[in-house]
């Protein structure tokens, strides 16, 4: 559990940062074609903020603290001279990340208190005291779980949501392996593998974010995303840094994800359709000519035009906006 002191310290540090962080993020992301939706540091923090716990807000603080950790990097980058001595810069960063660890998801205490309910009766003015044992609870979501992870989900057929984190342990190991300034000298990248069509694209991201929305060209394909890091350009000018040949350090692979399909798959129709009798489990084929009453119809496209009474139906014809979705069905649902 972080002490009050450490919390207030962080707040001070943090307060200077968000404006800068957001600015930097937006310039970075504007260059990226593949990034359709970006999440700013501020947006993230404000989401986590709950009105009812306004004064507590550890989520917000914590998030921005993490950004703070990363935010130090540009300061360090600033010198243009090739010789960068690294010895003096390490401690502050480590200290910060240490604090972050200590902040990691400790469950809040449930305090047991005795609550007194007082009620007054008019005639006797007698005060009755009812004692009631209650467990008062206060919870907040941990800002992070301090584990190396990357998970992907489909938002739409073409927009993928990804979130990630690198544990402090792993961070420490990377700095052990690659030098103390590893996280300053490198930037994170997401390598998006389209497994179905066998191609990959790369999205440079930054250390201010811990989630992202990616726009994908191809729906209905299997994807996997790799979180990795690449050395920044200036690192090449520093002979002390040992940059791998492909300038890539792998961090973690995501889960596999199949994006939803977004159109009628007319192209998948064969003349023999597979059927199953669900009562006895038997599978069999039906020829398309057995399926329709009207023999002049041969394609599913044609039958769809007849069933839905639409001329020139296209695979993307159907309107998916649920008619109920814009509807105030009720105040509660």
């Amino acid at each position: 559990m972080p002490t009050k002191e450490s919390k207030s310290k962080k707040v001070e540090k943090v307060e200077k940062e968000p404006a800068k962080a957001v600015k930097k993020l937006s310039t970075t992301t504007s260059k990226k074609k593949t990034t359709a939706v970006k999440k700013t540091a501020e947006a993230k923090s404000s989401t986590a903020k709950s009105k009812s716990v306004a004064k507590k807000e550890p989520v917000k603080k914590a998030t921005t603290t993490a950004k703070k950790t990363a935010k130090k990097e540009p300061v360090k980058k600033a010198p243009t001279t090739k010789k960068e001595t690294k010895s003096t810069k390490s401690t502050t960063k480590k200290a910060t990340s240490k604090k972050t660890v200590s902040k990691e998801e400790k469950p809040k205490k449930a305090t047991r208190t005795t609550k007194k309910t007082t009620s007054t009766t008019k005639k006797t003015a007698k005060v009755e005291t009812e004692k009631k044992i209650q467990i008062l609870e206060y919870y907040d979501l941990p800002y992070r779980y301090n584990e190396t992870t990357i998970k992907i989900l489909a938002q739409t057929p073409n927009i993928l949501f990804v979130y990630w984190d690198i544990s402090d342990n792993d961070r420490a190991n990377y700095t052990l392996d690659h030098g103390e300034y590893f996280f300053n000298d490198t930037y994170p990248v997401l390598i998006v593998h389209n497994v179905t069509k066998n191609y990959s694209t790369e999205v440079p991201i930054n250390d201010f974010a811990n989630s992202w929305y990616l726009h994908l060209e191809d729906a209905n394909c299997e994807y996997k995303i790799e979180l990795g890091r690449r050395y920044k350009e200036y690192a090449y000018r520093n002979p002390d840094i040992n940059i791998p040949q492909d300038n890539y350090i792998h961090v973690k692979d995501s889960n596999d994800l199949v994006m939803p399909n977004d159109h009628v798959l007319f192209e998948t129709i064969k003349s023999d359709m597979e059927y199953r009798n669900v009562k006895n489990g038997q599978s069999f084929k039906k020829n398309i000519s057995e399926i329709y009453i009207n023999d002049s119809l041969y394609t599913v496209k044609e039958i769809y035009e007849k069933l839905y009474q639409i001329d020139n139906i296209t695979p993307f014809f159907f309107d998916l906006s649920n008619p109920g979705s814009g509807n105030p069905t009720s105040t509660f649902k």
Partner: protein
């Protein structure tokens, strides 16, 4: 006319998130249940009863989700509903005095007094506070096919990264169904119609035969189904999927062209809670003094803009009757066309939120009553059927994998995954993984206290996963409450997780939170193995 040319299946999805606060009466959210009982569940049951008494045969499918069942079964909530009704009756009596200056208004006050008094009689005196049995009666009599849902309406396309959490949603959903209905459910309403093929194996494991999916769950299936949404498909994994019909959905659902927008229908937004003198209404609104809906509404929609006229129940019934006729004619024409191209009788699937009927569309239950009567007596070319009956009659089904889809805005996951609520998902995933970890850590726990803690963990996880919290955050309605619930359940889960791992279980803490999260009494955490 030949009534066997095709089928229409109505599916009403009755669901509310689990809201239970024994610690306070100040939670407005608790009233969602009471509003739904008075405006939807009792009117539906009353109309079913009328149909039965009039000898009208009808078939209908309804989901009753586990949180709803546990709330309907909850003694405290039943008592509070009675208090709610008594308070409303008191208000109606005051209204009769207040509106004496205007005869039309005064008649409406009497109308509401009747309604709430009848609700009390129906609920307390006739059904002994047991609405579950009232619905079960119609299932046992062959009018209703009740299906189940995910345990807490957890949205599978987000949860499935930890497959056991989807398995538990399904398993506990089925278990709850058996507890209240004494048999296994044949079908499931996938929470938010959220379909992922990864769930098929668990649905099959728990004996689920069919599910309802959104239109493009079928239309975008692989391969493209030959009959579109007018015949079910079966996934390679063995789940039969019925897809929502587009045309009939729009007729009922659409806020622009849909039936509920008729000018004679009751105006939802003009409620005396917001309109009458503050001091007068104060005892009947929120305890913090905020004006809220009371359910007493005196106006009809009248027009899109301008002055509103008083509600006239007779006119509203006339409109409902006309619209039922229109719906019948539309389906007859639709099925006439469909059946001329199909060798199996087409099925038109009409799924709706149950609470649309009555709560929002006040005349909806009456519309349904008239429609069912018309289908039975009038000249039409189709019969009402349930998905289960359809499968029994037409077991030969095309094999295709349904498309990953939902019935939310734009058809995929935007409602439950967007910039307002995406911060939640990592916590849901992490807690899911931790639950699986605990289950594997204690595969056969004999220690009573530890088992109790593990079971409570499972309850807290399930409650955190409810898709309603994410929806509310997106919708911007009761955001603070939804966020509080997510924090509470994840918080309680995490606290217990550490207590179990550290072997420092606080039994009093478990007892306290169990009293609040009073649901899934038979749960066994090993479902997460």
């Amino acid at each position: 006319m030949n009534k066997n040319k095709g089928y229409v299946t109505f599916v009403l999805h009755a669901h509310l998130p689990f809201i239970h606060h024994p610690e306070s009466k100040d939670y407005l959210e608790e009233q969602w249940l009471f509003e739904a009982i008075s405006e939807t569940y009792i009117p539906l049951l009353t109309n079913f009863k009328k149909l039965e008494q009039e000898g009208v045969k009808f078939r209908l499918t309804m989901t009753m989700t586990p949180p709803l069942l546990y709330m309907l079964d909850n003694k405290l909530l039943q008592e509070r509903y009675i208090e709610y009704l008594e308070k409303h009756i008191e208000l109606c009596e005051k209204e009769i005095k207040r509106t004496v200056y205007d005869q039309r208004l005064n008649q409406l006050s009497y109308y509401y007094l009747d309604r709430y008094s009848n609700d009390l009689k129906f609920f307390r005196d006739e059904h002994n506070c047991n609405l579950i049995d009232a619905f079960k009666y119609f299932q046992d009599k062959g009018f209703l096919e009740i299906i189940t849902c995910g345990a807490t309406h957890g949205y599978f396309p987000i949860l499935y990264l930890t497959p056991q959490t989807v398995r538990a949603q399904i398993g506990v959903g089925v278990q709850t169904y058996e507890r209240f209905f004494g048999k296994k459910p044949r079908g499931i309403w996938l929470p938010e119609c959220g379909y992922v093929p990864e769930a098929d194996q668990y649905l099959k494991e728990f004996g689920i035969e069919y599910a309802l999916v959104e239109s493009h769950g079928i239309l975008y299936a692989n391969p493209a189904p030959v009959y579109g949404t007018f015949a079910p498909i079966v996934s390679p994994g063995g789940l039969i999927a019925f897809g929502r019909d587009i045309e009939s959905s729009k007729q009922v659902w659409s806020s622009i062209i849909g039936y509920p927008g008729d000018y004679n229908y009751r105006e939802f937004y003009k409620d005396i809670g917001y309109e009458v003198d503050y001091e007068y209404i104060k005892p009947y609104i929120a305890s913090n003094g905020a004006r809220v809906h009371t359910g007493i509404k005196y106006y009809r929609i009248t027009s899109k803009e301008g002055e509103k006229d008083y509600y006239n129940p007779r006119w509203a019934m006339d409109s409902a009757e006309k619209q039922a006729g229109h719906f019948l004619d539309s389906r007859t024409a639709q099925i006439e066309n469909l059946s001329s191209f199909m060798k199996t009788p087409p099925i038109v699937v009409c799924p709706y939120d149950a609470e649309l009927y009555g709560h929002w569309w006040y005349e909806g239950p009456y519309w349904l009553y008239i429609l069912f009567k018309k289908i039975y007596y009038d000249d039409c070319n189709f019969t009402l059927i349930t998905p289960g009956d359809y499968i029994d009659k037409h077991p030969e089904i095309q094999v295709a994998t349904p498309c990953r889809s939902s019935w939310g805005a734009n058809g995929y996951s935007e409602v439950w995954l967007n910039q307002t609520n995406d911060y939640v998902h990592r916590h849901l995933h992490k807690a899911g993984n931790r639950m699986v970890e605990l289950a594997h850590m204690f595969p056969n726990e004999n220690d009573g206290l530890k088992k109790k803690a593990l079971d409570q963990c499972a309850r807290e996880l399930l409650l955190a996963q409810s898709s309603d919290w994410l929806f509310i955050i997106t919708n911007g309605t009761m955001v603070d409450y939804a966020k509080k619930r997510i924090k509470e359940h994840i918080g309680r889960f995490t606290k217990l997780y550490y207590q179990i791992k550290d072997d420092k279980i606080d039994e009093e803490f478990i007892d306290t939170i169990y009293e609040q999260d009073y649901i899934f009494h038979d749960i066994d955490y090993r479902i997460y193995m």
